[in-house]
Subunit: 348 residues, 2 copies
Amino acid sequence: MPELRKDPIVGRWVIIAHERAKRPHDFTGEAQLQAEGSFCPFCEGNEDKTPPEIVAYRERGTRPNGPGWRIRVVPNKFPALKIEGNLNKRGEGIYDKMAGVGAHEVIIESPQHHISLPELPEENIREILWVYRDRLVDLKKDSRLVHGMLFKNVGSAAGASLEHTHSQLIVTPIVPISVWEEMTGSLEFFNYRGRCIYCDMVQQELSTEKRIVLDTSHFTAFCPYASRFPFETWIVPKTHSSHFENIPKQGVDDLATVLRQVLGKLELALDNPAYNYIIHTSPFDHQELPHYHWHIEIIPRLSKVAGFEWGSGFYINPVPPEDAAAFLRETEFPAAPTPIISQGTGLA
Amino acid sequence: MPELRKDPIVGRWVIIAHERAKRPHDFTGEAQLQAEGSFCPFCEGNEDKTPPEIVAYRERGTRPNGPGWRIRVVPNKFPALKIEGNLNKRGEGIYDKMAGVGAHEVIIESPQHHISLPELPEENIREILWVYRDRLVDLKKDSRLVHGMLFKNVGSAAGASLEHTHSQLIVTPIVPISVWEEMTGSLEFFNYRGRCIYCDMVQQELSTEKRIVLDTSHFTAFCPYASRFPFETWIVPKTHSSHFENIPKQGVDDLATVLRQVLGKLELALDNPAYNYIIHTSPFDHQELPHYHWHIEIIPRLSKVAGFEWGSGFYINPVPPEDAAAFLRETEFPAAPTPIISQGTGLA
């Protein structure tokens, strides 16, 4: 069973994943993506090489764990956290720990191997967003769990070990420290000014325009004023909302367009960089909050994080966000192709 | 002039280093170490290829910016912050910024190219520690500056761009957020228990022994209970002290032994991994503090940080610190070689 341990100084939790453990000698080289052309457990036809699916969007008449799916959600084969068991919170002298209870799922975004997310039709990206929502809504019912983080790793430098397009969901029994920091910071601003800071930010970005990458009826994509990384880009809903899972249908329709365009621009402008995106959303145990605002942060992994950044939390960014945004605005990514799959909406 | 900008939500500052700016197309590949055998500006004889030295420990009779040095401190040729100018703090709507005033120096630890820090004699490592202290004491006099961070990047995966052994010092006009978090967390513990949490930690580690890597009269090296990374190792002084620059001579003598042994064990056990070390110490504008305790954190860079870690601040560590410590304890690193240079202590 993995173990959650708390750093007693800053309150940061870590997952000690015994069962993912490697021998020290396994660490003498850098992790790499699986070799080009090697076996891929996420490809259509290899469904028996993953744990049984939790949910899939499939063609009518196809069977679970067989071909015929458009999106497939499976438990991570090497999970950081496990869904069974009690939290068993306890101390160890000055330290605190609990059992590594939680969920770790993989969202396989396409049956095809050689495709990136922005190469998918918007219709398929909408389904990816719906599956994100479905999984959060389902896991929220488990009273042991308090927060769900949806994220995507693309490329070896961004921590991906498989090339086939996928994202992940990790649901934790503790609110992650970075989420707390955002919740606390935005609450302070709300208490002082009576407004949501993200709403203010969207307003200021739209009025100055210089950091805007894309603006649609429901979303604004911009390079944040204090970007940590070159070409860091946030996608923020224009209407206040604290929980991603409460997104309306029109929001999903529009977000698919925005996500596809923004990632397409990044892939084109930076020649298929490694990147992460992360959906920042409120913990489960709150109703709609006036101070917090869900959003997506996209981080291209172009430079290495060095000792100064690790020690200080201070980031050195050699590309002003105004320059990055101008470059991305000018990069033309083609409009959506015809849907690959439009027939059938059966849900297995 | 670089610009410091503050993230209005979490209060994190970033350095927008316009003058290190690159064209977007420069980011289409990963940064690499300079090629083996290419020209090295840090080698003896190439002193005119760096900005003029700030200080050097040299043989008697040798001239500044010429050969004959053992350690040489120069301004970073591509500084993240600049020493000239006023802070010029101002707002930009909801955002805050100031001029990027500060110091960014490089400590070249040896005139020899093909040597790593633990391959140096202890006598030379002592001098490196003295030069660290000298630079902090000197820069502390500048009332615009409030914190100095000493760190070392080894290997491309750790953010190093030059192979020649060196460390860096960045002195900022703002206390970095990670330093604040440590100060605040340890103050909370102190207010609650009346003790320093680092002192408690050293005591508990010494009594359980299972995470100890090395224990000497003045320092304890251990893999922390909530290690974020495989083989993360901290070196903590056994006597309470909040400021690195107040280290006594006996402390320097002993720390050179410990640092050399711990890095030597890591290099041997993990086959010369990329790593960072960072000296965590109090801000300048405080007297000795009862709640904070300076220490060194060593982070081998064996795995990539992925989207989950970026978004959550939650780390997944597949190697329990108890296993890492046992492996490092058992790795025998040879005792110190005879000093390369023992004659002369002239300071230019």
